[in-house]
Symmetry: C2
């Protein structure tokens, strides 16, 4: 998704379809998420939103981001110890390069693997030290329990 406006409208219509009240706070948070391409954390979203809504609570940011996350309109990039990052302008699963020092996160396109690492280093200038590749789903036992 390259068009933030369109993405914003899409999120709003999906919220409406799910019978969520379109409060000014929710709208503002959705807008930030649709527009941001730097994978902001909750605190960052909070700060951005507070330039327009100085009285908005941090709890409201948590709550609304979680709403959109469970709808599948926001991707959570989780980290141990918190400070999770969120992405709303693009929700198809895709790899990320994460700088361990400045915590910058950039989107990558899928491809090989190992081979992949080399091309990432070539294309981005990153020095890759580790990667993380997890698959989420239901194991056989749980699939059989509904």
């Amino acid at each position: 998704m390259r068009n933030p406006e369109k993405r914003f409208e899409q999120i709003l219509s999906r919220l409406k379809a799910k019978k969520h009240k379109l409060t000014p706070q929710l709208i503002a948070i959705a807008k930030i998420l649709a527009e941001s391409d730097d994978h902001p954390d909750i605190e960052t979203i909070y700060n951005r939103v507070r330039t327009d809504f100085p009285r908005m609570s941090l709890a409201t940011v948590y709550r609304n981001v979680m709403v959109m996350k469970s709808m599948g309109d926001v991707l959570e990039i989780g980290f141990p110890g918190g400070g999770n990052r969120y992405e709303g302008n693009r929700v198809d699963p895709h790899p990320h390069a994460v700088c361990e020092r400045c915590r910058k996160i950039i989107d990558l396109e899928t491809g090989g693997m190992a081979e992949f690492v080399k091309s990432i280093e070539r294309d981005t200038g990153f020095a890759i030290t580790k990667h993380r590749l997890d698959f989420f789903g239901l194991c056989p036992d749980c699939r059989n329990r509904q």
Copy 2:
């Protein structure tokens, strides 16, 4: 690494090489990590170790796991909201399948991707809904600052 005993000795000798005091607590925790293939969390390690060391503190488990993690002898599988999982019997990076319901984690071997998802579902019986693929390292800006 298929041999827990050997892996245990390896961790101990690396700890010794780094001038760590081989306290009974550290040895016990290293043993659990070398032997466990179920990616235990801190609480689980704590409980396993406490059958032999009932007076051991949870803080000690945290501290010693972190020591081995920074040495590169323990792999941390981090999750948002805590409850991170640890793996000491194998430290080469490799993909995992994580059950979102029972939190079971199993090791996988590397291969394609997309194609990969299908073969994982075939081989394990998992129903994969998402995957996670992150690369960690230093971005160009940070590489230039040392």
